[in-house]
């Protein structure tokens, strides 16, 4: 990109500057720290100049927006056409309560839905299962049968709004329920749009809501890829998630590497199952974290796009442009929120949201100020949504594509993060791929998490309100509380549904799922049939548990 003679002159000038102008200042006063480094341990220079980029080939490294390798963004004009989708992750208590929150958020200008399910739902247990006690409706909405799902999306036009569902091991069942609700609303299934998370590998690595062992889990995932490519073409069939890997303590470089390693495993599994890469790859989506280190996070998004494009083209031989484009959702980092001085979280989230916008996210969830204490109340959620709206509408940050592209610093970080992630990818390949490297990744994450905590305790990592600028404060008021009696009411509701349905037909449908599970046929049609008859999530997952067995975690500590 630069004239090499002129770059040489910059290098010479920089050397002189270091010895002279800068040297004099350093001789008088030491800097705040002996070393400056990013979260991923990239050592930082005082200032970045053209010579930091070396032989920078613009075409190869950046290209133009909407063109390979998509470093600058997947669409040619990005937010000049349409802003990112403002999609607040929401769900608690009953389907009625969550439906009310959804509709409130839509009224306030949210442009897409994102549904949080409670832990029993995420692990395939009905609300009346003994292990569900105390968990019903707590971290998300409780869904047992299609009846709950009908209430959840009541008065929400599924032909017009896109919905993201954070559901993994039982993703096929929740997708089936969504399809049937759309049918009942009269919306053709090829018109519904949304995302299921459906990313089991990161559940084994970092998030914990797995059910089945890897092999049948991968089969369910490829069944969904295949089914949706034929019948639900606008659905994102997976959201390959670095978010939780980062929340578990990884660095930015590890977040890119482990996420893309999981992505490689899914693509390979689908190809091995006989699918054409260009048929399913355009519906793969990603999910990243917006953490604290402003420029490194922006570089992370850019590096991930470039690396994935190369992987799809060179490793998997994808031909279609859409197969190579990494599209992603972002959530601001929950682990950076503090219970102390919670209003300060509003500021953290605003910067994190800006990182996501400058990094070219396709959709965004902004956390609420009170989430280190409880699920957010309505007021907190509104501020979080307004934060996105300020970035989109008021400050001009969405008017130019990839505005930090070409910054010597950001390009240098992008290059270094890509290189660090590639090193990890090579290591994971040598271990036999993501499935074989689960414990390796867990150990790496845990080491990073512990180092970070030690940094907090030594004061090297400053957390405002926790280890610096502390104040005496009153416990916060107005936190959202989920009624503990809700579990009982939800069990009653399930009982009524079971009494009112055609139980012989349900048993036959469940038996059919069992039979299909024993073949290599696609499970989706059988699951949709059962869901339509109001078979419960726990019943369907129960049959598959019996057929597939359950995953046993190896404890890495």
């Amino acid at each position: 990109m630069f004239d090499s003679e002129k770059v040489k002159k910059v290098t010479e000038a920089k050397e002189q500057w270091k010895a002279g102008t800068l040297g004099k200042v350093l001789a008088k006063a030491p800097e705040r720290k002996a070393h400056f480094a990013t979260d991923s341990g990239i050592e930082l220079e005082t200032v970045y100049t053209p010579d930091n980029l070396g032989e920078f080939n613009y075409e190869e490294k950046l290209g133009l927006p909407g063109q390979y390798p998509y470093t600058r963004g997947p669409q040619p004009n990005m937010y000049r056409g349409r802003f990112w989708t403002m999609r607040m992750y929401a769900g608690f208590g009953t389907a009625e309560q969550t439906n009310e929150r959804f509709r409130y958020l839509m009224q306030q200008g949210q442009t897409g839905l994102s549904c949080a399910f409670d832990l029993p739902t995420q692990i395939g247990y009905d609300s009346d299962h003994p292990l569900s006690q105390g968990e019903v409706g707590k971290v998300g909405v409780a869904i047992d049968t299609l009846a709950d799902m009908e209430v959840l999306f009541d008065q929400i036009p599924l032909g017009k709004v896109s919905t993201s569902m954070t559901i993994n091991a039982p993703a096929a069942v929740l997708l089936a329920m969504y399809i049937v609700v759309a049918e009942k609303q009269g919306v053709p299934v090829d018109q519904i749009a949304g995302t299921i998370q459906n990313d089991i590998l990161k559940e084994y690595i970092a998030r914990g809501t797995y059910i089945y062992p890897p092999e049948p889990s991968m089969r369910l995932i490829t069944n969904i890829f295949e089914y949706c490519s034929q019948h639900v073409p606008k659905w994102n069939t997976i959201s390959i998630s670095g978010y939780h890997i980062r929340e578990a303590g990884s660095t930015a470089a590890q977040e890119i590497a482990f996420t893309l390693a999981d992505g490689i495993a899914y693509v390979q599994a689908a190809i091995d199952a006989g699918l054409d890469v260009d048929v399913f790859a355009s519906r793969l989506s990603f999910f990243f974290n917006a953490h604290l280190n402003f420029f490194e996070e922006i570089a992370k998004f850019r590096a991930a796009r470039r690396l994935w494009a190369k992987i799809m083209k060179e490793r998997f031989g994808a031909k279609k442009e859409k197969s190579m484009m990494l599209r992603f959702h972002t959530q601001t980092a929950g682990c950076t929120l503090t219970a102390q001085q919670p209003d300060v979280n509003i500021v953290r989230v605003a910067y994190q949201a800006l990182m996501a916008a400058l990094g070219g996210t396709q959709s965004l969830h902004t956390n609420s100020r009170d989430e280190a204490l409880a699920l957010p109340n309505e007021h907190s959620v509104l501020i979080a949504l307004r934060t996105q709206q300020v970035i989109a509408h008021e400050i001009g940050a969405a008017d130019v594509v990839d505005p930090l592209g070409g910054s010597y610093y950001v390009e240098s970080l992008t290059d270094q993060l890509e290189a660090k992630a590639q090193e990890y990818l090579d290591k994971i390949d040598a271990l036999g791929g993501a499935l074989k490297a689960i414990e390796f990744m867990q150990r790496e994450i845990q080491t990073s998490a512990y180092q970070y905590q030690q940094g907090v305790e030594s004061g090297d990592n400053v957390v405002i309100g926790v280890n610096k600028f502390k104040i005496q404060e009153e416990p916060p008021k107005g936190l959202l509380k989920v009624d503990p009696a809700l579990g009982i009411a939800q069990c009653e509701k399930l009982k009524k549904v079971k009494e009112g349905r055609d139980n012989a037909a349900v048993q036959a449908a469940l038996e059919h799922i069992r039979q299909v599970a024993r073949t290599d046929e696609n499970l989706m049609p059988a699951i949709i049939d059962a869901v339509r008859l109001y078979a419960s999530l726990g019943e369907i997952c129960g049959v598959l548990r019996e057929e597939f067995g359950e995953y046993k975690q190896n404890i890495v500590f």
Partner: protein
């Protein structure tokens, strides 16, 4: 005189999958010279009591970020009692609102540590309770 290492079980009760905090605490306690057993995810109160019994634990640390603490922590206290482990020091941590702390203490949870707690404070608390001769 050399003190015998304190024996600790770190456990994740219920369905919650967030184990960053539990693992950081487990590692910090181990680095402080304690013998630490980490149970892994999805433990029932009865399973935790069983591990505490098998491992001859002096301390059980519970971690929950799913909001189910008001059910799971007292159930674990009862399970420990049922296993005859009344003298085990039971403590808990996680995303726990202030309003819930008093009822948890009344149910037999000796101390509750909320977000932002230094591992040093947890270590000091355990050492004071075990070496300070203040066991229940």
């Amino acid at each position: 005189m050399e003190k015998k290492p304190i024996r600790v079980v770190v456990a994740k009760p219920g369905l919650d999958g967030h184990d960053r905090g539990a693992k950081v605490i487990a590692q910090a306690l181990r680095d402080a010279g304690m013998e630490v057993i980490y149970t892994g995810l999805r433990q029932t109160p009865e399973q935790i009591a069983e591990v505490a019994l098998q491992e001859d634990a002096q301390v059980v640390c519970l971690s929950s970020l799913s909001g189910a603490h008001s059910h799971l922590f007292p159930s674990t206290a009862q399970a420990l009692k049922a296993a005859g482990l009344d003298d085990v020091l039971l403590i808990g941590g996680g995303v726990i609102p202030d309003d819930d702390i008093t009822p948890l203490k009344e149910a037999g949870i000796a101390e509750v540590f909320t977000p932002g707690t230094s591992t040093k404070d947890v270590i000091k608390y355990i050492e004071d309770r075990i070496y300070g001769g203040q066991e229940r």
